[in-house]
């Protein structure tokens, strides 16, 4: 009982702090009419230990685009629901530990890109201790290019097992797309088979050369 009370006393100010930070970023940018509802959604995310940054970004984005208030609030609400769904998926894939916020945010982004929950969950279990963003985006890239989701996941799991990690998994998706485009008439299955034969030596994507550039906010 005492422990619970202490946790509440610690958590409440932290939650207020997070919510307060978001409120200050939204003030003056989000329409006044939408602000209470959005504040409430963000506070709910904080209270549920969900990442709130995706919701703040969605509110800022909708406001910058001039989205009507009702659709703006709905967009943020949809984001919250997606985060909740993402946490359920992460919890299933990693039952022995609390869902890391970064994993939840990455899974939520993968869902928004159209990946199915089953594929996401499978990919999470491949390397539960690694940041899941790269493998999920690689899968989403393949699915966006109309590769079969299960076949795409198979390829990425095999690539991981052969030593490819992190950003290199994005190269697998790029290689598959290149194989698809290389010769007319090549099927998606053929392209995946050719990339599988290359593993783990898929070409590395070029990093952009240094050019005149500006550091932007947040960088």
């Amino acid at each position: 009982m005492r422990v619970a009370l202490v946790l509440v006393l610690i958590a409440a100010p932290l939650a207020a702090q997070n919510g307060g930070g978001a409120a200050s970023r939204l003030a003056g940018r989000v329409p006044t009419a939408a602000l209470p509802a959005i504040d409430s959604l963000i506070a709910a995310a904080v209270a549920e230990s969900l990442p709130s940054e995706p919701l703040v970004q969605k509110a800022l984005e909708g406001s910058a685009k001039g989205v009507p208030t009702d659709r703006l609030v709905n967009g943020v609400r949809r984001g919250l629901l997606q985060l909740r769904e993402a946490r359920v998926i992460v919890g299933r894939a990693m039952p022995d530990q609390p869902a890391p916020e970064a994993h939840v945010a990455a899974v939520s982004a993968a869902l928004a890109r159209g990946l199915g929950p089953a594929i996401v969950e499978r990919l999470l279990t491949v390397a539960p201790n690694e940041p899941p963003g790269p493998v999920l985006h690689a899968a989403a890239d393949l699915v966006a290019h109309r590769f079969n989701p299960d076949s795409a996941a198979d390829l990425l799991v095999e690539a991981h097992n052969k030593g490819l990690h992190g950003m290199r998994l994005l190269d697998v998706a790029v290689a598959a797309d290149h194989e698809l485009q290389r010769a007319g008439g090549r099927t998606h299955a053929d392209a995946l088979a050719r990339v599988r034969a290359l593993l783990p030596n898929v070409p590395t994507a070029e990093v952009p050369p240094a050019v005149t550039r500006r550091r932007t906010k947040g960088s």
């Binding site: 970023r25 970004q57 969605k58 800022l60 984005e61 909708g62 406001s63 910058a64 685009k65 989205v67 659709r71 703006l72 709905n74 967009g75 949809r78 984001g79 970064a102 994993h103 945010a105 990455a106 982004a109 928004a112 890109r113 690694e130 940041p131 899941p132 963003g133 790269p134 985006h137 989403a140 890239d141 966006a144 990690h165 992190g166 950003m167 290199r168 994005l170 190269d171 590395t204 994507a205 990093v207 952009p208 050369p209 240094a210 050019v211 005149t212 550039r213 500006r214 550091r215 932007t216 906010k217 947040g218 960088s219």
Partner: protein
């Protein structure tokens, strides 16, 4: 203090070779002979000073210290404290300080050219917008704020481009053309529904760390 007695000018002239010594009076002729004799005697003696003799004996002594390897001698030489005398002219010193200050304080280039950090990468943006007056990029990396990342049409051919150092990872963004038209990046390759129910899509960019090894796991989340 003893005062030196002046030499007779005639004797001086004889010593300088300007007068025939035979024309001198007897007493001066004797003095002349003594002086010339003394001079000849000095020329025949070896000109060795006391200091020179001492140094010669020191050189003749065999070194009794054990031989030390060159590396060790170098280390000793480097480690031994030495007095350094620095003579500075104030004018040159001030000029040197001003030059160093100019090099350190004045930026070498008017534009910001930061190097990406370990978890940063370079994002390049290109769009074909013929006739556009302005093109800028807004996205999650700048809180969807306008005014921080403008593209440029340097050749006035309608091809707008720019670049930015961004944190490694995914970023959603859009172009704003002429300050009012929101356009997805046609070259992005990745798109995601913006979630506001109108079927509009944001472009999606995944920034790779510029400096980290690609085999290392990046913090893309």
């Amino acid at each position: 203090m003893m005062a030196m007695s002046p030499i007779d000018p005639r004797l001086q002239e004889a010593l300088d070779g300007e007068r025939d010594p035979g024309t001198l009076p007897m007493d001066l002729r004797e003095a002349y002979a003594r002086l010339v004799g003394a001079a000849n005697l000095l020329q025949t003696l070896p000109a060795v000073s006391v200091a020179a003799r001492v140094m010669a004996e020191i050189h003749d002594l065999k070194p009794e210290v054990p031989s030390v390897r060159p590396a060790r001698r170098l280390m000793r030489w480097l480690a031994r404290p030495r007095a350094v005398t620095l003579r500075l002219r104030p004018a040159w010193t001030l000029a040197l300080v001003a030059g160093l200050a100019a090099i350190l304080l004045i930026p070498t280039q008017p534009t910001n050219r930061p190097s990406p950090g370990a978890q940063e990468g370079i994002a390049q943006f290109v769009g074909h917008f013929p006739g556009a007056r302005s093109v800028e990029v807004v996205g999650s990396f700048n809180d969807w704020s306008r005014g921080s990342l403008h593209l440029r049409d340097e050749h006035h051919d309608g091809i707008w481009h720019g670049a930015a150092v961004l944190p490694a990872g995914p970023h959603e963004y859009m172009f704003i053309v002429d300050g009012e038209r929101w356009v997805p990046d046609p070259l992005a390759g990745r798109y995601v529904d913006d979630g506001f129910g109108a079927g509009r899509e944001n472009s999606l960019l995944i920034v790779r760390p510029a400096q980290a090894s690609l085999d290392e796991d990046a913090t893309l989340r």
